[in-house]
């Protein structure tokens, strides 16, 4: 705080505090409070609100842990590709259905984040250190073209591409690679379509921060590492990645959060086996009209994802302070 | 215009750590004043208190007799040259230089003219439209100086600005800085851990250790009559002897060590009871061949001779196995003894100083 005033003076400090306060109070906290309060009360008809049944309860939250269902766990390697040669025994568990969906959402969001990171890192490196900087604006412009088209339309084109009689199957059959068309959204335990859609939709949210971090790395450091005989793996692992950690962390947090809270992509690119937690929230709110439970689930998603991100950052030894050093 | 600076019992604490401990010093207008000390001695903290980035925990900072408490860095008549120069990477050279004028609302033509003029002053014409990243280290150095001068400060604060330069350039810039200071007659406060820099440029030097000033004096006095063991060992080289004073009389005495007893001169505040050591600078050591007629003589074996151009350093071991060194002028007629030979070194009593030993010495040696 004193640091803020020292660096930016009183006027600017108060301005930034004021703007942040407006944002967090008027646009985030206060609006959420109403729903937050509602999430602790049962869903009741209007005339019973305020009546004897209207009391605070954790019931809406506990619903996540009710309704167990026999679920045959899908293990990677089995069922991923039609006619996969690997045989794994079925693993049946009896889990609360919404908890199961919730766990899958977190797992698949993490995988998506990881894949996106691996896709983006070389590109960010290339853009920052290899590409002719004068070509960058063009490259950027072309990269953001997909953003002109709404997420819905983009996901819809992927739906078309990945569907049974879509261009991908047709192309591969014309090339003689496939003998029969394939539903590409059914792979990876029924989540391949969703993952493709999420990766495609959120890849730029990783690329920009990592690229940003990469540009601030002095090329001399890379040369120094090369000079000291570091191979390219060591060079990246010991010099470049540590420098880009803040960008990687901020990109990963963004992508993970976006993926976990995405709704359009999982509903458009679903397979008959897939379900995303946001769809459950949506269902609470708009099919069951139960805003109370919907809000409870939404806050659960918020809290658990925040905890998850914090734990992951601890695990990988990236502090918030790294993001905001 | 130049201003005086006075620190009155200034103390600065960072949490539990005391960076500056009750420092008082007065710097005269137009003076080139250096704070010399190892890293962590508190000299940078002093500079930041003068410039106004931090406020002292206790005590006063006065610039031109005015108490500076509560006055921000942008309101003080100071200009700072940062260790890493802190040139604005996204401004061209001339914009960097005239930034101080720009924020004062000076119009562009005047600013540009002033920038060109200053570039001439620092002997760097023709680079006005480049970016700092397109300049060499020495050129950037000059731009930083020009930028600081542009605001016509009464006080220039320099935070080890030469540390990133190579030796040749550093020596050149020393002279340059000194010349600019004389030309502009601005008070300079210079922070460095390089004694050569401090001695060569400064009117006066304050040697610091552990947040305290050990000695303030002109460079010659600092070198020739150090106030204590810390100053002696931090500034220049010394042969150190551990032992005790056996007799004391009128500023002189006898100092007994395990390689003999020597006739010595007593430093400031030394008495028979004080904890002290004997310091003899390498250049004050002479060779007496095998004769032992001199009053202060130590038999040694030569281990190595390193030739430095105008002088040579002779490294030896005394009979207690301690390393000793001597510096002799390069004289082809009278070459230094060859490695392996046994010889005797001597030194005059008035060049053998017994100085107060404080924990600061241990600190400096550890460094």
């Amino acid at each position: 705080m004193t640091d803020l005033i020292q660096r930016y003076g009183r006027g600017l400090s108060w301005l930034s505090i004021g703007l942040t306060a407006f944002w967090l109070l008027a646009l985030v906290i206060l609006p959420y409070l109403g729903l937050f309060e509602q999430s602790f009360r049962p869903y009741l008809p209007v005339d019973e609100i305020g009546g004897p049944n209207d009391h605070y309860t954790l019931h809406n939250y506990m619903a996540l842990f009710s309704n167990p269902q026999d679920i045959t766990l899908c293990l990677p390697g089995k069922d991923t590709i039609p006619g996969s040669p690997i045989y794994l025994p079925d693993l049946v568990v009896n889990w609360p259905i919404h908890l199961y969906i919730f766990i899958l959402t977190i797992v698949y969001s993490s995988v998506v984040t990881l894949i996106v990171l691996m896709l983006c890192y070389p590109i960010a490196y290339c853009m920052a250190k290899v590409m002719d900087p004068r070509s960058l604006p063009t490259f950027f412009l072309l990269l953001v073209i997909p953003l002109w088209v709404s997420e819905l339309m983009r996901s819809f084109s992927w739906y078309i591409i990945l569907s049974l009689n879509g261009p991908l199957s047709t192309l591969l059959m014309d090339l003689g690679i496939l003998s029969a068309p394939v539903r590409w959204t059914w792979g990876l335990c029924g989540y391949s379509g969703i993952m493709v859609g999420l990766i495609y939709t959120y890849v730029l949210f990783m690329l920009f921060p990592v690229y940003n971090a990469m540009t601030s790395l002095d090329s001399n450091q890379i040369e120094a590492a090369e000079d000291l005989g570091a191979g390219w793996i060591r060079k990246h692992w010991r010099v470049i990645i540590p420098h880009c950690k803040p960008g990687i962390a901020s990109g990963s947090v963004t992508v993970f959060m976006l993926a976990a809270s995405s709704l359009l992509v999982p509903s458009l690119l679903a397979s008959p086996k897939s379900r995303w937690f946001t769809e459950v929230i949506q269902q609470w709110m708009f099919e069951s009209h139960d805003w109370n439970s919907g809000a409870a689930y939404a806050f659960l998603l918020l809290v658990v994802c925040t905890i998850f991100v914090t734990v992951m950052m601890k695990l990988f030894k990236v502090g918030l302070s790294d993001i905001a050093k | 215009m130049s201003a005086s600076v006075e620190l009155r019992s200034v103390t600065m604490d960072f949490g539990k750590y005391r960076a500056v401990d009750n420092v008082s010093v007065k710097i005269n207008p137009g003076e080139f004043f250096s704070f010399l000390g190892p890293s962590g001695c508190g000299k940078t903290t002093i500079l930041r208190m003068v410039s106004g980035f931090i406020e002292p925990t206790a005590g006063q900072v006065l610039i031109g007799d005015q108490d500076m408490r509560g006055i921000g860095p942008n309101k003080r008549p100071t200009a700072m040259i940062f260790q890493n120069l802190a040139l604005f990477p996204l401004m061209t050279v001339w914009e960097n230089i005239s930034f101080g004028l720009e924020v004062r609302g000076v119009d562009k033509t005047t600013r540009r003219a002033k920038a060109e003029e200053l570039l001439k002053l620092v002997e760097l014409p023709g680079v006005a439209d480049r970016f700092p990243s397109q300049l060499s280290g020495g050129q950037r150095q000059r731009v930083a100086i020009a930028r600081a001068l542009a605001v016509e400060p009464q006080l220039m604060l320099l935070d080890e600005p030469l540390s990133a330069l190579d030796l040749k350039l550093r020596q050149h810039m020393r002279a340059e800085l000194r010349a600019i200071q004389k030309r502009t007659n601005v008070t300079f406060i210079y922070i460095t851990h390089d004694q050569g820099e401090a001695l060569a440029m400064s009117d006066r030097v304050a040697v610091m250790s552990r947040g305290q000033i050990q000695q303030v004096d002109v460079p010659q006095k600092i070198y020739n009559t150090p106030a204590n063991g810390f100053v002696a060992s931090f500034v220049g080289e010394n042969n150190k002897f551990t032992g005790e004073l056996t007799s004391v009389s009128d500023g002189a005495g006898k100092f007994k060590t395990d390689v003999g007893e020597f006739t010595v001169t007593l430093g400031q505040g030394v008495s028979k009871e004080s904890k002290c050591r004997l310091y003899v600078r390498p250049e004050h050591i002479g060779f007496a061949g095998k004769s032992k007629s001199h009053v202060n003589a130590i038999p040694v074996t030569v281990e190595d001779v390193s030739f430095e151009g105008n002088f040579a350093v002779v490294l030896m071991r005394d009979k207690a196995g301690r390393r000793r060194s001597a510096e002799v002028r390069n004289d082809p007629m009278n070459p230094p003894p060859q490695p392996g030979t046994s010889t005797t070194i001597t030194f005059d009593p008035d060049k053998a100083l017994v100085l107060l030993d404080s924990e600061a010495v241990a600190y400096a040696e550890r460094d």
């Binding site: 591409i161 998603l301 | 942008n74």
Partner: protein, 268 residues
């Protein structure tokens, strides 16, 4: 030499990535000319311009596009200063308070759009602010500012605060130092943040849906078409936008190359 080979491989990878990013757009663009009511390229039912004609005649789409643009601009104008202020604030805090503030700031990113929309609507309703695009702006800013904050924060950490001190020391006010020293350093992040904010706003569906009142934005319009079936009119609009961007990018690149060639000639 090995470096050179690796660099070429990297460049090829980049261009492949770019190409892959554009594949779905090709499918979408192709559907704009397919004489099928369903926006797909397969089966191909013949070339047609009718979707462009439909687009031209669709007043709702034009009104929705205009609304979308207004909202997007308002969102950029609000979320960039807010996100930047938030980043500066977080950056200057330490320990617990930083973690708490940071968590609060990114919480809207994770909150489902419907929740944001509904809570925004209900909250402003208490102050008699009716639903409308202004509430959509508020709802969108609440989470888009977080993206901006993240980008600015990442950029801030590479900033040498000695530059600010240097500016202050030279007599600049805090405001001048911000404007001339810090902001220029943040430009890339601010530019990227603005672009991101703009596009995020354009495609926001859920939060807008609940706050928009009687006005319609493009994505909401497209979303509402899903129930009855999207027609390639939307693809026609997308095709036009994409074409303009591609042509713009190409024109820029050609012009740049020509200027570069001329400069090289002049030097030789």
């Amino acid at each position: 030499m090995r470096n050179k080979f690796r660099h070429s491989a990297l460049l090829i990878y980049c261009y492949c990535f770019l190409a892959l990013m554009l594949v779905p757009l090709a499918v979408m663009g192709g559907a704009a000319f397919n004489d099928s009511k369903f926006p797909t390229v397969l089966p191909w039912k013949g070339w047609t311009w009718r979707w462009f004609v439909d687009l031209y005649n669709d007043d709702t789409i034009w009104q929705a596009s205009f609304n979308t643009l207004i909202v997007a601009i308002a969102v950029v104008v609000m979320s960039v200063p807010i996100g930047t202020a938030g980043a500066l604030l977080v950056n200057s805090l330490k320990g617990r308070s930083r973690t708490l503030l940071y968590a609060l700031m990114i919480s809207p990113v994770l909150t489902p759009g419907a929740v944001i929309g509904i809570s925004t609507l209900l909250f402003w309703f208490k102050f008699n602010v009716p639903a409308g695009l202004h509430l959509s702006v508020f709802a969108q800013v609440s989470f888009i500012a977080a993206y901006v904050m993240l980008m600015v924060l990442a950029r801030l950490q590479s900033f040498d605060s000695a530059l600010e001190e240097a500016a202050l020391d030279l007599g600049a006010t805090h405001w001048q130092s911000l404007r001339r020293v810090l902001l220029p350093h943040l430009y890339p992040a601010l530019a990227a943040g603005s672009v991101l904010a703009f596009f995020q706003s354009i495609e926001n569906f859920n939060a807008t849906q609940f706050t928009r009142g009687a006005s319609t934005t493009l994505t909401v319009y497209v979303g509402s078409k899903v129930r009855t079936g999207i027609t390639p009119t939307i693809n026609a609009l997308a095709f036009i936008l994409i074409s303009i961007t591609v042509i713009g990018a190409l024109a820029y690149e050609i012009r740049r190359r020509r200027i570069a060639a001329r400069a090289a000639e002049a030097e030789a």
